[in-house]
């Protein structure tokens, strides 16, 4: 029956561990180690944005660094067990939600914030880039389209500017993917000045995302630049008479230039044919041909370029920026997922969740104090006595019973209680004729027990009331004196059992020097411990 129950418990435990393993993508729990594979799953609903989730997790891991490992193990294992009982996966968002819930200062207080304050700086950076881009777009387009009637607006220059914008977008995108940050020292200097992080910039997981965050801000700025530029172009087309032309010092004919224009206009050729300049328009709007073809009728067509310019701006400035912004956003999300999945704290969390919490009973008796080992008694020389009791197997290794008339008896240990009684009676009779001093030889290393207390109490009842009793602790080796800490336990024993005629005596090594018995002052205070 017992074995069966044990087996059932074991199977339940294994089942639970396997469910934890499945939840965290562990192939098999018993093989969990340093190199297990892991597939992160966020669960069906994600209340927090991925970036906030990552930062929350990183913050929590750093908070946990000061906590004892045993506490963390208990906490996280408890969470995993709760999830299992609720048939839920122990995912990271749930874990953070669980900690939020239990650490929330007041019940019902909302922890969900609209905007993550840790990303405030990056929101400001992005907004700054967007604003700067919008303003620059409004300023740059009139510059490009400056037309005072003396000279046409050069479409070649506009195309070159568009190409520059395209290259900048491309460079920003590639830089973000490659993680190259030539601006890093400047950024870090600024970040440190604006908001020094207590953990230091090196400690923050946000630092790992700087390339993507910076690229996103740059693309937002570029997009706003393109949008406001396009709007400005449209406004200028409405309020001004713009005359476009093209000019180059290269030996290029209108046909070749038209082929180039035609290629550039490929994306919208079918959607908006009117936005593709004809060969005639190209031929008519070349600068050095102006005088030759300078008729008012031709000049009236020069404005027809605006559709091409607008579409070029849309396709090669705005759309690439939108595309790169989307890609960067995707890359950012991917990086966030990877950072979370590879976060060192997650490996530790997985382990704590999947591993049973082990308590070795070390919480018990934590507040106990050490016993007081102080004693105020002093040891005395061995008094002269011809009556000796060898207690619990003690042997007279120092020949204390040297007198031929000495009475040496055994008690305690293997002797029976009846034999102890006989010993007491025998000594009582012996004490009638000699000085009332009895030595009890004890093994110094053996602690005094209740049996000795009983024996001493019986002795007091049996022997004359003025009998002096000297406990003589003996060392295990012959002709040596006992250690101080062994003597101390006998002194404390005497201290715990107040008896004016009970004392502890220490024999001297070599020939025994017995001292005449003093009948008072056995409990004299000693200034120093023995």
């Amino acid at each position: 029956m017992v074995r069966h129950r044990s087996r059932v418990c074991s199977q339940l435990c294994m089942k639970f561990n396997s469910s934890i393993s499945r939840a965290f993508g562990l192939a098999a729990w018993p093989r969990i180690g340093l190199h297990f594979r892991y597939e992160l799953r966020f669960g069906k609903t994600m209340a927090k944005p991925p970036m906030t989730l990552l930062l929350d997790f990183d913050d929590q891991v750093r908070l946990d660094r000061d906590q004892p490992a045993a506490f963390l193990h208990r906490r996280d294992r408890r969470f995993a067990l709760d999830c299992d009982s609720n048939h839920e996966r122990p995912t990271v968002p749930r874990w953070l939600e669980y900690l939020d819930r239990v650490n929330r200062p007041a019940p019902g207080a909302s922890q969900v914030r609209d905007q993550d304050p840790r990303l405030g700086l990056w929101r400001r950076v992005t907004s700054g880039f967007a604003l700067a881009g919008a303003v620059l777009g409004i300023l740059a387009m009139p510059g490009l389209l400056f037309y005072d009637g003396s000279q046409q607006i050069n479409v070649t220059v506009i195309l070159a500017f568009i190409l520059l914008q395209l290259l900048m977008a491309l460079a920003t995108g590639l830089q973000s993917i490659a993680g190259w940050q030539p601006w890093r020292p400047v950024l870090h200097g600024v970040l440190e000045r604006i908001r020094p992080s207590p953990a230091g910039p090196a400690q923050s997981v946000l630092r790992e995302l700087h390339p993507q965050l910076m690229a996103r801000a740059a693309h937002v700025g570029g997009l706003m630049f393109g949008l406001t530029g396009l709007l400005t172009l449209l406004v200028l087309v409405v309020v001004q008479d713009l005359a476009f032309g093209w000019s180059t010092t290269l030996d290029t004919g209108p046909v070749a230039f038209h082929r180039l224009i035609d290629a550039i206009a490929t994306p919208w050729q079918n959607l908006w044919p009117a936005a593709v300049p004809s060969l005639d328009l190209v031929a008519q709007s070349r600068f050095f041909r102006l005088e030759d073809a300078g008729t008012s009728g031709a000049a009236a067509h020069w404005g027809a370029w605006w559709r091409f310019v607008a579409m070029s701006w849309l396709c090669y400035v705005i759309l690439p920026r939108m595309l790169f912004l989307t890609l960067t956003q995707g890359h950012l999300r991917l990086r966030i997922r990877r950072l979370l999945a590879n976060h060192p704290g997650l490996a530790a969390l997985r382990y704590r969740m999947a591993t049973p919490a082990l308590e070795t009973g070390n919480q018990e008796a934590a507040d106990q104090e050490k016993p007081n080992l102080e004693t105020h008694l002093n040891v005395h020389p061995v008094p002269d006595s011809a009556t000796v009791i060898k207690w619990a197997g003690a042997t007279d290794s120092l020949a204390l019973t040297r007198a031929s008339s000495a009475l040496a008896l055994c008690a305690g240990g293997t002797a029976s209680l009846r034999a102890d009684g006989q010993t007491l009676e025998h000594i009582r009779q012996h004490l009638n004729d000699v000085v009332h001093v009895v030595l009890i030889l004890v093994r110094a290393w053996e602690p005094p027990t209740g049996e000795l207390v009983d024996f001493l109490e019986d002795a007091r009842e049996t022997w004359p009331t003025d009998t002096q009793i000297a406990l003589v602790p003996l060392a295990s080796l012959p002709a040596t004196v006992p250690d101080g800490h062994h003597l101390a336990q006998w002194l404390r024993f005497v201290e715990r059992h107040p008896d004016l005629r009970l004392m502890v005596s220490r024999p001297e090594p070599g020939p025994t020097r017995a001292m005449p018995v003093s009948l008072s002052g056995y409990h004299a205070k000693a200034s120093a411990r023995p």
Binding site: V2, R3, R5, S6, C9, S10, C13, L34, R65, P68, A69, A70, R77, L81, G200, P201, A202, E208, N342, P344, A348, Y351, T355, P356, A357, L358, E359, T360, G361, N362, Q363, E364, A365, A366, D367, Q368, E369, K370, P371, L373, A392, G393, G412, G413, T414, S416, L417, R443, W445, E446, P447, P448, T449, G450, E451, D454, S476, H485, Q489, R492
Partner: protein, 476 residues
């Protein structure tokens, strides 16, 4: 019989029962003193996994009046078959009697089904006086095991083993203070062999304890790597206003910065030590007065520390390429060329702390004074530009970890380290050496560690633990 084994640790007073329980339950709060009667109540120390108890150790008071108890039992028993009942009757009758308080306390768990772990002190001569106790325990009829624990220096273990085998199923020698972790596990395995039903929970406990040990080493490596990184990257900054910008004030400021930097590094090292001690559940190491003498006598910035744990210039130059195992450079490069070996130093042959602080030498490269701008000048101290410092910090941390992880919870004495003239890094594999050196260099040059390097540093520190363990336990 309960399916959750309970083991009552019993014996004569002051024979190391509590120290056995302390070591097995990893509880250094259990009062261990050379004083009989320290334990007056039986106290249970359960080992549980997810709240499910696998087994329980019960610390008990020692026998005080075994002859009287035995006499009572013999007087009330008719035959061998009623002995266990007679013992139970004794406890029932004397449960309120202060004279038999200790006997009732120690017999109660045994009568409730606990296995008997009878502890004797193998450092004192055997005496037949304990036979009354052993007879009482035998009367209970419970599975029993005798442990020969050695409290003192002498060894009478063989005599005890021979005598105890007359009374107990199994007799084992186990020094609660010096026993290795493997010996702990071996002892638990023996506990499980006392009763067939106990074998499985004890095996589970052994597995969990082994996993815990492994995990602790890993966590200790992470803590150590983090501390090393923090210490190498530490920077103290202060800005001087125009009124104080005289030369004398700048020098004074530099001194203050250096002192603050030194103080912080010492505090960080102490914080790491506390964290490692907590990890291994040594929560009362300071209360016990068992301070780690060498670590405390030798300051982090002392020349002695540098000699013990530092490396040579040639090692610093080549370790980043994984050199050291390649012929020629190897050991000479590590041992600094000092006639006084590191191990001899650690072993305590040199007592006093060095008076020369090599930390002063660190100042030359670590102190930076910024330009005077608008009446303001910024001075900073750190990060340290000498990679030597990283090896000193790491060496001291690894040494401390080794002492703590090998320290039993019954232990109150210092661990003695073996003398050796070799450097512990000689036992470290080439890849780990390279990773250490690169991490130190990256801290020095870039002022930070990236995530991948941080992980490699952590793994290298874990490998360092293994290498140091090997260096200490298997000196050449």
């Amino acid at each position: 019989m309960s399916h959750k084994p309970v083991f009552a640790v019993v014996g004569h007073p002051n024979k190391g029962k509590s120290s056995v329980v302390a070591t097995l339950s990893q509880n250094d709060a259990i009062v261990i003193a050379l004083e009989p009667g320290t334990t007056r109540q039986h106290q249970a120390y359960p080992l549980s996994v997810d709240g499910q108890i696998l087994y329980t150790l019960v610390d008990t008071p020692g026998f005080q009046r075994p002859r009287r108890v035995l006499a009572w039992l013999e007087a009330h028993s008719l035959s061998a078959s009623d002995r266990a009942e007679t013992v139970a009757a004794f406890v029932r009758q004397h449960s309120g009697d202060p004279r038999y308080h200790d006997e009732c306390e120690l017999l109660t768990p045994v009568l409730e089904g606990a296995g008997i772990i009878y502890v004797v002190d193998g450092s004192v001569p055997y005496s037949p006086e304990n036979e009354a106790e052993m007879t009482i325990l035998r009367w209970t009829g419970q599975p029993s095991l005798a442990l020969v624990n050695s409290i003192g220096a002498d060894d009478h273990g063989d005599t005890w083993q021979a005598a105890l085998s007359q009374f107990f199923q199994v007799v084992k020698r186990f020094n609660a203070v010096t026993a290795s972790f493997q010996q702990h596990l071996s002892l638990l395995k023996t506990f499980g062999q006392l009763e067939p039903d106990w074998e499985r929970p004890l095996e589970q406990a052994i597995n969990h304890l082994s996993n815990q040990r492994h995990q602790r080493r890993r966590q200790a490596a992470e803590l150590t790597a983090q501390a090393v990184e923090d210490m190498l990257l530490r920077r103290e900054k202060q800005t001087l206003i125009v009124a104080d910008a005289s030369t004398a004030s700048r020098e004074s400021l530099a001194g203050q910065l250096r002192q603050r930097w030194h103080d912080h590094q010492r505090q960080r090292e102490e914080a790491l030590r506390l964290a490692i001690e907590r990890l291994y559940q040594h929560n009362h190491i300071h209360r016990q007065g068992a301070l780690l003498t060498w670590q405390n006598d030798h300051d982090l910035f002392s020349e002695r520390s540098r000699r013990a744990f530092g490396v040579s210039r040639s090692y610093l130059t080549t370790a980043g390429f994984g050199a050291g195992a390649a012929g020629g450079i190897g050991l000479d490069a590590l041992t600094l060329g000092h006639s006084l070996g590191a191990g001899a130093l650690i072993g305590g042959l040199v007592g006093a702390a060095g008076s020369y602080f090599y930390g002063d030498r660190l100042s030359f490269s670590a102190l930076r004074l910024g330009p005077l701008q608008q009446g303001m000048q910024t001075a900073s101290f750190g990060p340290v530009q000498d990679s030597q410092f990283g090896y000193v910090v790491l060496g001291r941390a690894v040494d401390h970890w080794w002492r703590i992880s090998h320290r039993n919870h019954a232990g109150q004495d210092l661990l003695q380290l073996e003398n050796t003239d070799s450097h512990w890094l000689t036992r470290l594999d080439r890849t780990s050496r390279r990773d250490l050196q690169r991490a130190f260099e990256q801290c020095r040059k870039k002022g930070s560690l990236d995530r991948a390097m941080r992980q490699r540093l952590s793994l290298a520190v874990e490998a360092s633990f293994q290498a140091y363990d090997d260096w200490q336990l298997n000196p050449t």
